[in-house]
Symmetry: C2
Subunit: 292 residues, 2 copies
């Protein structure tokens, strides 16, 4: 297992972690500068943040700072109320893949979607098996294009508490079943983004990480599970401030062959998004060394 | 599949559903009267509610009204910080089993516990595998006593969002693995309490319900998953007000041989606990007939 204690070479910042600083939205170019100032070697930006500044400008800035990507957030949201919606989702995933190529990302992270309309409180249907079928078909279609251009897709199983509205793939086992079905050859073009927040509770986690192996482990995200958790989406904790066994899980992931970045992704409306970006990034570096 | 549309013979009320009415705590004897007035044939009471009125008085009242139990809430919370705590938990589970016998309950529902101290925000340890081991040992010990007195134990897998603080058994598969380990003979003395709120998202739900079969399905709880869910514990929805496929899941449960009560368990600090008990119980009856 790699020793992270003396540097932060393998730290990546998912830019959602500092998208709000002192309660206000901060543009991605400023966030990249803040990372560069701290010698952070990788980020994982969100599409809306990239679009707000401009794709080419972000690509140039990253190159100038020699900052790489640990992933691109995000594709997915495949299920839809009708055929037009399904097609629009596929078109959007192609654009995400193209953007990821421009930014030289190692993968596009897929938050696969769930009951269409559920995020707005008005699900078009409640048949979760149908949503899972649409996710399967959507990934299959996106994967064809991803193979053409050479951009791996990483399915992110989300916590079951987000099964209705954000992603109906909720365990690593389920994600890997889908990978095996759609990419039996383990080509490296389809795998998972493993976020400890979503999977730490799973009694089959160690077993399924071993099953995933190097070819399927495309990204690794860290944060922590707070006690109490006050919100289902935006109350993630800083590594070390909760109950997730970070060292143990990273041990399993590395034993399976993963040797990439440990990406910090914290949505925290009540705490970290209210602090300065400097404080949040400095604490990310410290905790990366001490507890991740 | 049974037709519930013309009566509520198979409705049970978990008394947590109406423990608060118009925002205030209501004693269990009053709740039992409210159920009796409506021809409700079964309830599932909580130990603290029983103790507040008196065990013998509740037993007499239930008998007078010819109201049965669909379960007794609850045993469990086995993991502890030290040996004294483990022993205290076992003693408490014996008392729960004795009370359940007095009330002629069909089973004691086990909320098995998780990281000790986590509910108070101060976990004594974070090793969830250790907690799971303590749960296994605790159930094994409680089961010995339960067999002696003839009181089945029903493991309730809780939603993974409650894995840290309330129960570290979070899938039906995991609960059934434990049942198979501790009661290989399928004696009927160890099974599960299946609450749709906790398991509806699980892609293996249908398969695992079939695996459970009649001997393991000791209780069936219903409510609904609201959009959005505003709290991890106390924002459950009334059946029909969310996205859970109630008819489909009951179909699976009945196909596996379950023929007992459909028990309504709704924790709802923001909505139903603010309404009158009359309204809540009347809506439970109506929804039992129309959507469960």
């Amino acid at each position: 297992m790699r020793d992270f204690s003396s540097n932060h070479d393998w730290l990546s910042i998912n830019t959602a972690t500092v998208r709000k600083q002192s309660g206000a939205e901060v543009p991605l170019d400023r966030i990249i500068d803040q990372c560069a100032e701290r010698g952070i070697r990788a980020i994982s930006p969100w599409r809306d943040q990239v679009a707000a500044v401009g794709l080419d400008q972000i690509a140039r800035q990253l190159k100038a700072h020699d900052i790489g990507l640990s992933g691109y957030c995000r594709g997915g949201f495949f299920p839809a109320a009708d055929v037009a919606g399904l097609k629009a989702a596929l078109d959007d995933n192609r654009r995400a893949i193209d953007e990821a190529k421009t930014l030289n990302a190692p993968c596009v992270v897929l938050v696969v979607g769930a009951l269409p309309g559920a995020l707005e409180g008005k699900p078009a249907y409640t048949d979760i098996a149908r949503a899972r079928g649409e996710v399967r078909d959507g990934i299959a279609a996106a994967l064809e294009y991803a193979r053409e251009v050479g951009m791996p897709l990483a399915i992110e199983p989300l916590h079951p508490m987000q099964a209705a509205d954000r992603a109906c793939i909720n365990t690593l086992e389920h994600a890997l079943d889908l990978c095996d079905e759609l990419d039996a050859a383990r080509s490296g073009m389809l795998g998972v983004a493993l976020d400890v927040y979503h999977v730490w509770w799973d009694p089959k986690l160690q077993q399924q990480i071993a099953r995933a192996g190097r070819e399927r482990l495309l990204a690794y995200h860290v944060c922590d599970w707070r006690l109490p958790t006050r919100d289902l989406l935006s109350d993630r904790g800083m590594m070390g401030d909760g109950v997730i066994e970070l060292r143990k899980i990273r041990g399993w992931v590395e034993a399976a062959g993963f040797a990439g970045f440990s990406e910090v992704e914290i949505f925290s409306n009540l705490d970290w998004w209210q602090r300065t970006g400097s404080e949040t990034l400095d604490v990310c570096i410290e905790r990366h060394r001490s507890v991740v």
